[in-house]
């Protein structure tokens, strides 16, 4: 029991650090950062909006890189990382659109405008969603990994061109506005906090997918009536010996 708890300690320690960073970041955003003069308190949404937008882009890049690594090594672990990045990135991308809409409504008086940055964010969300839908429609693991990896690489190649094309139009979205030092510190703190939170969600989700994969293999072996060759791999995945 002591051995199992010792194994789980780094996970709890990491989660604790990320949680405290995130709480501090939100406290700074809501309380410590000065109120912006023209927009008022609604501007505080910037700290979250920029952080989730950054995490969304990070997820897309990770998804593409993991897809390339899968196609190179043909190891399903890379596909699990790619899927985790796809799902967590989709969440961040959705939050970007949501927080952006709230902010746009308060600042510009409209929920949506076909501004270049909004358009490219929507297209990023559509690419994420498309990959998720295609992934959900295929059951065979290596076929699914091959197809979604190809799509992820296509998306990764496409994204810079989408951003370039949409931003050549004029837009009203602010580009790196000047900030008070405290505002900048809050923004950077939020970026770090949300990036680490993204990393935590990513690793946890990947662990779930790994467990799902192993369970699937166990089921197949049980159906085939064979003695499982996976028995020695399961304890390393579940240090406490059970499926939580």
């Amino acid at each position: 029991m002591h051995h199992q708890n010792r194994k789980k300690l780094p996970i709890h320690f990491g989660t604790g650090i990320v949680a405290s960073l995130l709480v501090t970041a939100l406290f700074m955003a809501m309380r410590l950062a000065p109120t912006e003069q023209s927009m008022g308190p609604v501007q505080r949404i910037l700290y979250i909006h920029v952080s989730v937008a950054w995490s969304g882009l990070l997820g897309f890049a990770l998804m593409g890189v993991c897809a390339m690594l899968y196609l190179f090594h043909r190891n399903l672990a890379w596909d699990q990382w790619s899927q985790a990045a796809n799902e967590v990135g989709w969440l961040c991308s959705s939050l970007t659109l949501l927080t952006g809409s709230f902010w746009a409504h308060a600042a510009w008086g409209t929920w949506w405008t076909w501004d270049p940055r909004l358009t490219s964010s929507l297209l990023l969300w559509a690419l994420y969603t498309g990959c998720l839908i295609v992934r959900g429609s295929i059951h065979e693991s290596h076929l699914r990994a091959r197809i979604t990896s190809s799509l992820a690489i296509l998306g990764l190649l496409d994204l810079p061109l989408v951003i370039m094309a949409t931003r050549w139009f004029r837009g009203m979205h602010p580009v790196a506005p000047e900030m008070e030092p405290m505002m900048l510190l809050t923004l950077l703190w939020n970026l770090v906090g949300f990036s680490l939170f993204f990393g935590l969600l990513l690793t946890r989700r990947r662990r779930q997918l790994q467990a799902e994969g192993l369970l699937g293999e166990l089921e197949l072996e049980a159906l085939a009536g064979r003695k499982s060759s996976l028995n020695n791999r399961v304890p390393s995945l579940f240090p406490d010996g059970g499926l939580r």
Partner: protein, 223 residues
């Protein structure tokens, strides 16, 4: 190798000529969409030109790209897919043959759509024929590269064809924006660095996605 490529392209063109499965429906849809869009083009010559660029490319996209996904579907339905894969030729040549057939189909559609816009909406398309042809060719290369590769995805995964339509638009947005902006500027007699920038985007997209198609198609269809 080129002989085998020639026969793969010829096979598709002959079977389309005999069965008339995809091209007539695509061309009819192109006529219908062009006619509907042209009726909405009113106002001064400048206003018509500024709108025509986007409408022309939307008509080409709706009528053409969704039909291009059917390229591999026909092989599956006729039971030719396995035979095609056993053909003693590198996989990338199969992709290039399908790409060529799709390029020709979209070129035929473009000829119809552009002609109809000249007739119905009186936009000055013939003032700069070389520019319009260049934009049409590059836009065709970009759209065809995306739709052929996604058609290949359909060939190996028959469960989610409708999902591919969802992916095609975000992937093709740079081509649609680039081609429609370059067309709008050409119709408005504008030229200069901005026009070349849009053309550059079309060139980069075509190169990147044709190359990606050749590489990824082989990885997609392997057993």
């Amino acid at each position: 190798m080129l002989t085998k490529f020639y026969w793969m392209v010829t096979k598709d063109l002959v079977s389309e000529f005999r069965a008339r499965q995809a091209w007539p429906a695509m061309l009819m849809l192109g006529v219908l969409v062009s006619f509907l869009f042209s009726t909405q083009l009113e106002g001064s010559a400048e206003q018509r030109s500024s709108l025509a660029g986007m409408l022309i490319w939307l008509a080409i996209y709706f009528a053409g790209v969704l039909a291009q996904h059917r390229t591999f579907a026909m092989e599956q339905e006729e039971g030719c897919w396995d035979a095609l894969r056993m053909y003693p030729v590198d996989t990338s040549w199969i992709y290039l043959a399908k790409f060529t057939v799709n390029f020709l189909a979209l070129a035929a559609l473009q000829a119809v759509v552009l002609s109809l816009f000249v007739i119905f909406s009186n936009v000055p398309m013939l003032d700069h024929p070389l520019r319009i042809l260049t934009i049409a060719g590059l836009g065709n290369l970009g759209l065809t590269s995306v739709s052929t590769l996604l058609g290949g995805v359909w060939a190996v995964n028959r469960q989610g064809p409708s999902m591919l339509a969802f992916l095609t638009l975000p992937l093709a947005i740079p081509v649609l924006l680039g081609a429609s902006e370059a067309t709008r500027m050409t119709l408005g007699h504008e030229s200069g660095p901005l026009w070349w920038r849009w053309l550059g985007l079309l060139v980069v997209f075509a190169i990147v996605f044709v190359a990606a198609g050749i590489v990824l198609f082989e990885l997609l269809i392997e057993e």
